[in-house]
């Protein structure tokens, strides 16, 4: 190794150890997600999600909650899973982050939670109803699934990861780009902009 490179080894290792971005790259649970944006009268009223977990988390959860081991989650098993594994995620806002015009959106309530075993994977399906609904014609909306602790990593599925139910105002467009500013560290925030805003 050349002396110059050798002299860079230690700073490089230390920088990697303390770098905020490097430090963030540490998920233990992997989720593939798909979303549906529901509009009423042009406003975004709810976001529905499907989360499909990795083999390890799925395996553990299925072993924990499929009590009769029939590879199906019945109503009582889903209720227990919801109470013990899903509802506690409210502490993290269910990893859902929403901004309207750069301001963080206040809250949502979870509706229609369900879970299933698809092959060897556990899947959650739920809807987050937004309070109040957000009008993208008034301000751009940003929606992101992100765990700031980086224990859970979210990645959109390759196809049909964003569906629309109803319609926003005419001239609206979706954009998916790595986050910056308030969304710094967010891998796949989706921005909905209407009108001439760039």
């Amino acid at each position: 190794m050349k002396p110059r490179l050798r002299s860079l080894r230690l700073p490089a290792v230390l920088a990697l150890a303390f770098a905020p971005h490097g430090a963030a790259a540490n998920p233990d649970v992997w989720v593939q997600a798909a979303s549906t944006w529901r509009f009423e009268a042009g406003s975004l009223v709810a976001l529905s999600f499907e989360w499909r977990f990795d083999e390890y988390f799925s395996s553990r959860s299925i072993a924990s909650y499929d009590s009769d081991a029939d590879r199906r989650l019945d109503t009582s098993e889903i209720e227990r899973l919801r109470a013990e594994a899903f509802d506690p995620l409210s502490r993290f806002g269910h990893y859902l982050h929403v901004w309207a015009g750069g301001e963080r959106h206040g809250g949502h309530t979870i509706e229609d939670f369900s879970a299933s075993i698809d092959g060897d994977r556990l899947a959650y399906r739920f809807t987050a109803a937004l309070h109040p609904p957000l009008d993208p014609a008034r301000a751009p909306l940003v929606v992101s699934l992100h765990d700031p602790r980086n224990v859970v990593d979210f990645e959109f599925v390759a196809e049909r990861f964003l569906l629309v139910d109803g319609a926003p105002a005419a001239g609206c467009r979706f954009r998916l780009a790595r986050g910056s500013g308030p969304q710094s560290g967010h891998a796949q925030p989706v921005t909905l902009t209407c009108g001439d805003r760039s």
């Binding site: 290792v13 770098a19 971005h21 233990d28 390890y56 467009r173 790595r178």
Partner: protein
Amino acid sequence: MKASSATRGWLLVALLVMAAVQAAPAQQLTVPEIEVVADDDRGTFAGLTAYLVEFQRRANAEVATHMNAIESGADLGAFFLGLAIAFAYGMVHAFGPGHGKFIIMSYFLGREAQVSRGVVMAIQVAVVHVIAAVVIVWLADSLLRAGFGIGLSEVPGVRAASFLIIAAIGIYMLVQAVRSSSAGVLSAAGHDHHDHGHGHGHGHGHGHGHGHGADVEGGFMALAAGMVPCPGAVLIMLYAVANDMIYPGFILVAAMSVGIGLTICALGIGAILARQTAMRLVENAAGGGGANVLRHTLNCAGATLVTPIGLVSFVAFLDVPLG
């Protein structure tokens, strides 16, 4: 009874309406046009993060694939490829939060140690890590089989103990650093009186443990850093147990832990070398007195970094609001 033609007409209309309702989709879902912006222009660290996450995502899935391959008696190539992937996964994974990196680095910043000590500690951390993962999974599996169900966060004693050991070692280091600083000041005063004239200040009050004491202290530090297993390793082990693949699961978690140990080893040795380099530079520039001041400063700095890591983590664990 014969239905009238009007009644038959209404029935027909009702049937048609019902059929129309059933045929209509519950939701009118559309796939909008989405502009997907490539990540080409992201910064160096953001790019590195994305790469590391993507690497881990793939390695994580590959570990499961190779566990199945090993279990089904695949050839040696698949076995060693599985080991290599798990090892690399652990190495990259350890750069994330946790895994005891910062503790080990702070510890070696505050302790004079040889590089070999860093290697030994990394091995200790890796071994403790594997044992902890297996023990916790064994506990979880036992409870699962008993029909209770348990979450990883529901094994709190291990984390609490780890944080308390770290805090205790930090306080011990701090006491030692303060004591040796006081001794250093006294001995420096003695030097002035005796006027040795050689300017060496490093022969007194170094404040670093040698021999058995340092080994025990380092062993406790390795225990504290390694006893909280990486949740990722635990999940892999749980997967192995759930799918009756304990042997390959153990082997792959061990390989992953060795990878984690190597990263910690590199960072610990980095801290050791950083301290040694700084000492050498200051000694050359400012003589033994300057080096002595730096030594005591580093001893105190290391201790004051280790102590709050343990205490703050413990307070956070108890969910006690700070301030």
